[in-house]
């Protein structure tokens, strides 16, 4: 392009010197803008959590103590491992609306995003108004006014957290989802098992079932309205389906031997269960309407802990058919299951990531048990936890977080980590030991 423009221009130089010069300059400018523009390629970021400032919301009216919205939001963001919220003590100012914001202050503090807001009590309701800003662009990314009943402030705080998270990450937040887990404590000399449900931050826990016998393996239905679990209340393991809204419970599997490890199919119409009615632990599909069974594994070894692939085609499960527990995937493509873990002699309890690209599991290494994941395409394995007695991984519905049970001192606790191996967050201790966490789907 430059050449074709220059040739006639130089030919006319004597007569049209200035014109030719202009043409030449224009050609060069065109060349720089159209052809030669520099492209810098950036393929990785800081690898660190995003600095974000959540300013304490201004409050007016009598609000319940301990349910400060901004604190809940800050904790939620921190729990993800993707954000490092600025502590309120370090803030130079405490704006409660966009009009009061001096972006320079927040830039000086190295903050990338800023959330400001205020809460007002209006009778039995509260109204929260909040705004999210990009500190560098000085642009508002989000602005909303929400109201809720005065005893539902936490729900509002989680809702705001979800909105903020989605605006910042492009993925739905999971702060309004719930956790199911089992606690065990001694009560008047006898054990007390409790099936509980709480917010993702462990707050607002409620007991849904209490038993002197073990309760195990809670599993959420895809719509989040039912739980399946194993209860030993009859003295032997049986699988129940529990309707949360009504408390109505149904035994769906009570075969001789094992009735364990329920997992809902993506369509919610069947469960994967482990039964040993044949004398050996095998995985079956249990149709919830007809209660009919379809055997999915057939091996003299232990086959258990089945989980449906997120798209419903095939399952992952644990089998010790190779001599020790390893993870296998059975799908419609292959007649026989393929083993997907090889990193150590003990890999069990598989859980797919929501996109089906990873499988998470309990992995023994150096006599400790950790949570690890393997990328199914590459087979690359990554150990995610440093704690040593880790069990029962359960993946958040957005795939970004994972909750698992581990030991902290003599206590069994639940810990949330980022699925990329980021910051860990231990849920506030409930009474006694906590085990068997299950992360709910997004609730609607």
């Amino acid at each position: 392009m430059t050449a074709t423009n220059q040739a006639p221009a130089s030919g006319r130089t004597r007569q049209y010197g200035p014109v030719a010069l202009v043409l030449l300059v224009a050609a060069l400018m065109l060349a720089t803008t159209a052809n030669a523009e520099l492209m810098i390629r950036v393929t990785k970021g800081t690898g660190e959590a995003v600095p974000v400032a959540v300013v304490p919301f201004a409050e007016s009216g009598d609000l319940p103590a301990g349910d400060d919205i901004s604190t809940i939001v800050r904790n939620n963001l921190e729990m993800t491992g993707e954000f490092t919220p600025l502590s309120a003590e370090r803030m130079l100012s405490l704006p409660s609306s966009g009009d009061d914001v001096f972006f320079r202050d927040w830039r000086m503090l190295g903050q990338r995003y800023l959330l400001v807001g205020n809460v007002t009590r209006e009778g039995d309701r509260v109204r929260a108004r909040y705004e999210l800003f990009d500190v560098n662009s000085e642009q508002r990314m989000l602005g909303e006014t929400s109201t809720t009943s005065v005893n539902n402030l936490r729900t509002l705080a989680h809702h705001i957290s979800d909105k903020v998270y989605e605006a910042l990450t492009g993925e739905p937040g999971v702060f309004s989802t719930r956790l199911a887990y089992v606690t065990l404590d001694e009560h008047e000399g006898s054990p007390r098992y409790r099936l509980q449900i709480s917010d993702v931050d462990g707050r607002r826990a409620s007991v849904r079932l209490e038993s002197r016998e073990p309760i195990m393996s809670p599993a959420w239905s895809p719509d989040g309205k039912q739980l399946a679990y194993v209860s030993f209340e009859s003295g032997r393991p049986e699988i129940f389906v529990h309707e949360l809204a009504t408390g109505k419970r149904t035994v769906v599997a009570s075969y001789p031997g094992l009735n364990s490890a329920p997992d809902w199919s993506p369509d919610g119409r069947s469960l994967l269960v482990t039964l040993s009615r044949s004398g050996n632990a095998e995985i079956y599909r249990l149709d919830l309407d007809s209660r009919s069974l379809t055997r999915l594994t057939d091996h003299w070894g232990i086959d258990t802990e089945g989980e449906w692939h997120p798209d419903g085609d095939g399952l992952a499960f644990t089998s010790d058919r190779s001599g020790g527990p390893q993870i296998y995937i059975k799908d419609s493509e292959r007649a026989s299951p393929r083993r997907v873990t090889f990193g150590s002699r003990y890999n069990a309890r598989p859980r797919f990531s929501p996109d089906g690209e990873y499988i998470y599991y309990v992995h023994q290494r150096d006599s400790g048990f950790h949570i690890a994941r393997t990328e199914l395409d590459s087979g690359d394995e990554q150990v995610l936890t440093r704690t040593g007695s880790d069990e029962s991984p359960s993946i958040a519905p957005n795939g970004r977080m994972l909750i698992y049970a581990t030991r902290q001192g003599n206590d069994n606790v639940l810990t949330v980590i980022s699925t990329n191996g980021g910051a860990a967050y231990t849920l506030p201790a409930a009474n006694g030991d906590v085990r068997d966490p299950a992360w709910s789907p997004v609730l609607r």
């Binding site: 073990p214 195990m216 393996s217 030993f232 003295g235 032997r236 393991p237 031997g257 094992l258 364990s260 490890a261 482990t274 040993s276 004398g279 050996n280 632990a281 003299w300 232990i302 258990t304 802990e305 644990t318 010790d320 001599g323 020790g324 527990p325 003990y346 069990a348 309890r349 309990v362 023994q364 048990f369 007695s389 069990e391 029962s392 030991r407 003599n410 085990r435 068997d436």
Partner: protein
């Protein structure tokens, strides 16, 4: 090629033997010969236990028969039957050598008292995963059940249940606690 065929043939024989070992846990009682076949063919491989378990088991069977004869003569089974908990190594369902005399005494007792039922509760230590441990506990209970049946108990007298790691006998995260928790308990009614 030749090697592969040999290997395949060996694998076939092995798996047949193992499947036979598993499938015989059905209603028909397992014979002594079958039990010994399971141990010889698959003991180490199937349950992943120590390799010397199989070897010592032959010696023990001789001892066992001798003891059985002596015990039958002395009528000292009652003392042995006070032991109702039997321990296992990590991630195995292999009955330990020292458990066999006692289990045999229990079997004779059951055989002699058809109206007595026993419940076998299989347990594991806390390590590993809950559901897998539940299956492992069941396998331990089943192993004991088979032993009892082989040694004269009626299958109808025996109920098995696995609690996996849910009901540890000893608290703590150490080898001593774990060893006490990898167990099958016999509960007579």
């Amino acid at each position: 090629m030749n090697t592969m065929m040999k290997q395949s043939a060996f694998a076939l024989v092995l798996s047949l033997g193992l499947v036979a070992g598993c499938s015989t846990t059905g209603d028909e009682p397992m014979t002594d010969e079958e039990m010994s076949a399971v141990d010889q063919d698959g003991g180490a491989s199937v349950y992943g236990g120590d390799g010397d378990g199989g070897i010592s088991s032959d010696e023990l069977r001789d001892e066992q028969r001798r003891d059985q004869a002596e015990q039958g003569a002395s009528g000292d089974d009652a003392a042995m039957r006070r032991i109702t908990t039997f321990y296992f190594d990590f991630d195995t369902a292999q009955i330990k050598a020292e458990s066999r005399d006692v289990l045999a005494a229990h079997a004779r007792y059951l055989a002699n008292n058809p109206d007595v039922d026993v419940r076998l509760e299989g347990h594991t230590d806390e390590r590993g995963t809950k559901e897998y441990n539940l299956a492992l506990g069941e396998r331990r209970a089943n192993a004991v059940q088979r032993f009892l049946v082989v040694n004269g108990a009626d299958r109808g007298q025996i109920e098995t249940v696995s609690y996996g790691e849910e009901k540890p006998a000893a608290m703590g995260s150490n080898e001593s606690a774990w060893a006490q928790n990898r167990r099958v308990e016999l509960i007579f009614r």
